[in-house]
Amino acid sequence: MGTETILIILLFFMLAGALIAVETKNLLSSVISLGAIGVGSSVAFLFLMAPDLAIVQIAVEVVLLIFLIRGTIARDVIPQRGHIAWGALAVVVVLLAGLLAFGTYAFRGIGRFGQPVISAVQEAPSNRYLAEGVRETGAVNIVAAVILDYRGYDTLGEATVLFAAILGALTILRVKGFTKGGQR
């Protein structure tokens, strides 16, 4: 199975999760479907040979999911009584097994522990950064050369995220609000 096929399957899995999250009536189910999207993108990062991004994604996802479940579980939890829904349980088990198989399969392209991808793949861009970084950018700190020159877009996005976060915090924490008719 090629990488593109796997990525397309993962994409449809994430799309299904997004659709369920939007359409379902129960808030808790919606949050859990969002978690499925996060797990799908984490496995996708693994297939693209970026284990660092996969770890960041899964960590952020788990923390966010805990916060969201803590926020929504008091709102509308429906206690289940009576018989167990065997069909739903079977679907859950099959999905979990499939995800586990995907994750295990993704590790085949990654080298052993202690051998990063740049030592296994010759044409990895990191090798070029390390070899030509000082000549091309003039910065002897290779970290600064990567984050501010080679990957400037990435840093611009980070600065944008920071700006949006500050804006959100200032908007939520202010006392004076604005109503439809004007200032309150």
């Binding site: 003039g138 002897v140 050369a145 400037g152 611009l156």
Partner: protein, 164 residues
């Protein structure tokens, strides 16, 4: 008496300049030594946070008000974007290091690496200002009880420093 004890105030008076200068040093030599805009900006914000903790928020807000801080925050973001756009104008590519192509400085010099020091300064301004802004907002909020016993948030601005 606002702020902490006289011991903390005296030590803060001696130490604050060195913390601030260390932050500026980390930002300015980001392309030569470990560090850069993010780390240096956090250290600069920490010097002002120390000032706020030791002397009280009235003292610190008189020196760096919320309006100035918000201006520095936006200015840092705009300076970073301007450096990227100048790369598009003079180098042909967004984020192209046009200064390094035209005036290649010697390695290990402060004036080298083209737009990287400028971008570091912009990010340092932005990160420092925005962290201090968050600290101002959080230090000014108070949760009070009204007559009905309900909790509500109130902002305690020092006189004449209210934000619209």
């Amino acid at each position: 008496m606002k702020g902490m004890t006289v011991i903390v105030k005296t030590i803060t008076r001696w130490v604050k300049v060195f913390i601030f200068l260390y932050g500026v040093y980390i930002v300015l030599t980001g392309h030569l030594t470990p560090g850069g805009g993010f780390a240096g900006g956090v250290i600069i914000a920490c010097s002002y946070i120390l000032l706020t903790l030791a002397y009280g928020k009235e003292f610190a807000l008189k020196r760096l008000g919320p309006r100035t801080t918000a201006g520095l925050d936006s200015g840092g973001a705009l300076l970073f974007l301007l450096a990227a756009l100048l790369g598009l104008g003079y180098g042909g590519i967004f984020f192209a290091n046009f200064l390094q192509k035209r005036f290649p400085g010697r390695e290990f010099q402060l004036a080298s690496a083209g737009i990287i020091p400028i971008a570091n300064i912009a990010i340092g301004l932005k990160v420092g200002a925005s962290l201090f802004l968050i600290f101002i907002i959080l230090s000014i909020l108070r949760i009070v009880l009204d007559e009905k016993g309900q909790q509500s948030m109130v902002q305690h601005w020092p006189e004449g420093k209210g934000e619209e």
